[in-house]
């Protein structure tokens, strides 16, 4: 069973969401709603919801990064102070808590941010090669629906798209 891709471009966002809604309800053979990718110049939380749960894991990275930054930062700072007895400071203990807290706080944020961004790259699969069906108009003002389906289901999907006033439908073979 060979699968192929198809990109449908819409100017009207409502039509695009209607198309997806209908596609979801259609239960076509050889097609899964998970294989639909939406491409858009702006974000569309409501359409993403239609496409079903597409989990985002960035927040776990954030959690890990922040905890790591905080704990690791404090350990790093206090243990380097403990090994560096060359510089006791008059009036202060070797490991003073308030200054270390300031640095811990900064490192907590630093690693929080860094690892969040790392999580973003992993989650968004960036950097990546653009899909060959990518169309520059998606970055301008049109919404694109990229569908991966069995060749058998393709004509039906194409038909559905046309019905919803798709501006253009690009298949894999057409280029």
């Amino acid at each position: 069973m060979s699968k192929s891709h198809m990109l449908a471009l819409f100017t009207d966002f409502d039509e695009a969401s209607n198309a997806i809604r209908e596609l979801k309800a259609s239960n076509l053979e050889g097609f899964n709603i998970k294989d639909v990718t939406l491409k858009s110049p702006i974000e569309h939380p409501e359409i993403e919801e239609l496409l079903g749960k597409r989990p985002v894991y960035v927040q776990f990275f954030t959690l890990f990064g922040a905890i790591f930054g905080g704990l690791g930062g404090f350990t790093f700072i206090s243990s380097s102070q403990a090994t560096f007895l060359l510089q006791p400071k008059g009036g202060k203990p070797v490991i003073p808590i308030p200054p270390d807290m300031v640095l811990t706080y900064e490192l907590f944020i630093l690693f929080g941010v860094y690892i969040t961004v790392l999580g973003f790259f992993i989650g968004a699969k960036l950097p990546m090669k653009r899909h060959k069906l990518y169309n520059a108009r998606v970055s301008e003002d049109q919404i694109g629906i990229l569908i991966k389906a069995d060749d058998t289901a393709m004509p039906a999907i194409k038909d559905l798209m046309t019905r919803h006033k798709a501006l253009e439908i690009i298949g894999e073979g057409s280029k």
Partner: protein, 282 residues
């Protein structure tokens, strides 16, 4: 592993200087706490200490223009104050105050140095490590006594026209531009004396070593010594003057002359001054 180290020695790492018992003859690395007592009543303001310091510590002569800009490098300076209530004439003379680094136990300069170029030694000195210094000048900003001097210029290239460099003390680094420096209590002398004493299985004897200013002072207004040793002259003087190293507010009789300057800022200085006396009936 250092986490075990951290956990095992946590209480040690949380000790805050100065703590009582920090210096103790029976303990291993704190048999010395160098301190001074300076009698303002017999200080005549003659500047012998300043010149001695120039000779001992390779202080550059900066010249008129730079002196005017406040870039002078005298580690010990003699301040001269007039009486605030003076009417026409200073009838009770002037007040002279030799001011050098007070080697504070809780030194405000130490905590703020970003690179740790200034820190506390086991002998209770406030060390300044020229080679670590990057010249942020924060220490000077935070020093209440303003006894830290910054090398604004590259003095080694200008201050000692040949053959003056032959006079330089090889035990003391000549400081280049961009470095903070200050009185060290002539640590090169202290180290030499300590080394000699250790070779002979003993502690440094009282009076065996003194900084250049103390050695020069014609009136012997400055007393220097190891305050840990209860028999040293300086320890006796501190005790006699009821000044306690570990206190920021001394409870003492008003007949007693000892005090430490700007004690209310809690730097715990190691230099005790003794009040100037004036015969009010004269």
């Amino acid at each position: 592993m250092s986490i075990t180290n951290l956990l095992n020695n946590w209480s040690f790492y949380r000790n805050k200087r100065p703590y009582r018992g920090q210096y103790d003859l029976n303990k291993e690395y704190s048999e010395y706490k160098w301190a001074m007592a300076l009698d303002l009543d017999i200080c005549t303001g003659c500047n012998a200490c300043t010149t001695a310091c120039y000779a001992e510590n390779n202080l550059p002569v900066v010249g008129k223009k730079r002196f005017h800009h406040g870039q002078v490098m005298h580690w010990i300076r003699i301040e001269r104050y007039w009486d605030e209530k003076m009417v026409d004439f200073p009838e009770q003379g002037a007040s002279f105050l030799p001011m050098m680094c007070q080697q504070c136990e809780a030194a405000p300069c130490e905590t703020v140095c970003p690179v740790g170029a200034t820190s506390h030694t086991n002998d209770g000195l406030n060390s300044q490590n020229y080679h670590r210094c990057i010249g942020s000048r924060y220490c000077s900003a935070n020093c209440p006594y303003k006894v830290r001097y910054f090398n604004f210029w590259n003095y080694p290239s200008t201050a000692w026209p040949a053959p003056l460099p032959d006079q330089l003390n090889p035990d003391v680094t000549v400081r280049t531009k961009g470095i903070m420096e200050k009185c060290t209590f002539c640590v090169q002398r202290l180290n030499e004396a300590k080394s000699r004493a250790r070779t002979e299985y003993r502690l440094v004897r009282d009076g065996e070593v003194v900084p250049a200013c103390v050695q020069a002072c014609p009136t012997s207004a400055i007393t220097f010594g190891n305050i840990v040793d209860p028999n040293s002259k300086v320890a006796k003087m501190w005790k006699n003057q009821q000044v306690d190293l570990y206190k920021d507010l001394q409870e003492k009789d008003n007949t007693v002359r000892g005090y430490r300057i700007l004690e209310d800022l809690r730097p715990f200085p190691s230099v005790m001054y003794m009040e100037r006396i004036r015969d009010t009936e004269a």
